[in-house]
Symmetry: C2
Subunit: 193 residues, 2 copies
DNA sequence: GTCATTTCTTAACTTAAGTGAACGAGTTGC
DNA sequence: GCAACTCGTTCACTTAAGTTAAGAAATGAC
C-alpha cells in the first residue's frame, strides 16, 4: 500500500528511507467503504485526498438532484477548493467504490514542505501540471457536443464507464441520464451500420 | 504602468525597492495592439502573460472555425498549458483590445524564484488559487444550461459582454453565435413581461 | 432465494440548440 | 462615396436534449 504512494512520488523526486519513515509516521492511509461520504456540503475542512486504489467523486446537490462534476481514480489527487478559499464546502465527496486513499491536512503539508524542500518542489510541479490538464479538459468540454464528450471519455478513461453508474456519468458529461442513454443507443446504432 | 503590477503583487508579498528594480530590469512590459497574435497553434513557447490593462483571449481553430475558450483581463495571468507540457501549442492567443501586458519566460521565473523565495511563495499561492477557481468555473459550466451560463456571465463579468464580440462569447459559453442571439432575445422578452 | 430499491432504458412530447441562408447595420479600405 | 467585409440577428427547418412517465434490469438486504 505504502509502496504505491512511494512509486508515484519517485516519478517526481527521490526519497531516502528516513523520509519515507517520516511520511509513514503521519498515519495518512485510510481504507474507505463504497458509499462513505468524506465531505459534506457546508462543512469546513483542511483535508486533501490522494487515491491509491478505488474511486471517489465530487458532487453538488442542486434542486435535490446530484450533479457529479469529478471522478478521482488511481494516482489522482484532490484538494477541494474550500481548503484553498477557507470557506464551507459547496459540494460532497463520496466513495464510488471501496477505496484506499491518503488523507492529509494542509497544516501537515505546510510542515512537511518546510522540512523537506523536495516535497515542496513535487507539490509545485503537481499543481502546475494539474492546472494545465484541467484547463485542457475544460477547453475540450466547451468545444465539443455531448456525444463527442462521451466518445472522448470512452477513449481517455474507458474504465470510468465500466465502474461508475450512468446517472453519475451523465452529469459529469453535462447532460441528463436519459440523454446519455440515447447517446449510447445512437452510437451503438452507428456501429452496427 | 509598473505600479499596477506592484500593487497587485503587494496583496501577496511585500517588495523592497531593490526587488522592484530587479523586476523592472527584466524588461517584461509590452504594449500590444488589438488583433496582435501572441501565440500560434503549433508554436513552442516558454512565455507567460499577465494583463495589466486590456484583454487577451485563447482560441482553437477547429474545422476552420474559431473556438474561444478563455478571456484574460486586468490582473489575470495566463500560462499556456504547452509551457508546462513542453509541447507545441494547441491554441492561439490574441489581443481583443489594445493592451498592456507583461511577458515573462519560464527560465526567467525559475531564476527569480531561486533568488527571491518571496516570489516563489506568491507564485505558489496564485497557482493554487487559480486551480481552485478554475475547478469551480468548470463545475458551474457543467451544471448549468447555456442560458444560465450567459446570466452567470452577465453577473460575474458584465464587462466582457460589452468589450468582446458576440461570436467569441458564444463559443466561450459553449454554443453557436445564432444560439447566443436567441438566448439574448429570450432574456430580453422575459424582462419585458 | 424473494422483495424492495436503485439504476437504466424506452417512449411521447416539449423546448432549445445546430444548420443553412438571408438581411441589415456598422466598419474598413480605397 | 461606394464596394467589400464583418458582425449580429432573424427565419425556417433539422436534430438533439429536457421532461414526464412507465417499465425492465440489476443490485442489495434479509
Amino acid at each position: 500500500m505504502e509502496n504505491i504512494l512511494f512509486d508515484f512520488m519517485s516519478k517526481y523526486i527521490s526519497l531516502t528511507e528516513e523520509e519515507k519513515n517520516i511520511l509513514l509516521s503521519l498515519d495518512i492511509f485510510r481504507t474507505v467503504k463504497k458509499g462513505t461520504i468524506l465531505l459534506k456540503e457546508g462543512q469546513k475542512t483542511k483535508e486533501s485526498y490522494f487515491v491509491l486504489k478505488g474511486c471517489i467523486r465530487t458532487y453538488y446537490v442542486i434542486d435535490s438532484e446530484e450533479k457529479t462534476t469529478g471522478f478521482y481514480t488511481e494516482m489522482e489527487a484532490l484538494t477541494p477548493p474550500c481548503v484553498v478559499s477557507k470557506t464551507p464546502s459547496e459540494y460532497y465527496i463520496s466513495c464510488v467504490e471501496d477505496s484506499i486513499i491518503t488523507v492529509s491536512n494542509s497544516d501537515m503539508e505546510t510542515e512537511i514542505n518546510s522540512k523537506f524542500p523536495k516535497f515542496d518542489i513535487m507539490c509545485k510541479i503537481l499543481t502546475e501540471e494539474l492546472l494545465a490538464k484541467q484547463r485542457i479538459d475544460f477547453d475540450e468540454f466547451k468545444t465539443s457536443s455531448p456525444e463527442q464528450r462521451y466518445l472522448n471519455l470512452l477513449e481517455k478513461r474507458p474504465d470510468l464507464i465500466q465502474r461508475v453508474p450512468q446517472y453519475q456519468l451523465a452529469s459529469y458529461l453535462g447532460i441528463k441520464p436519459e440523454s446519455l442513454s440515447r447517446v449510447r443507443a445512437r452510437i451503438a446504432d452507428k456501429n452496427k451500420g
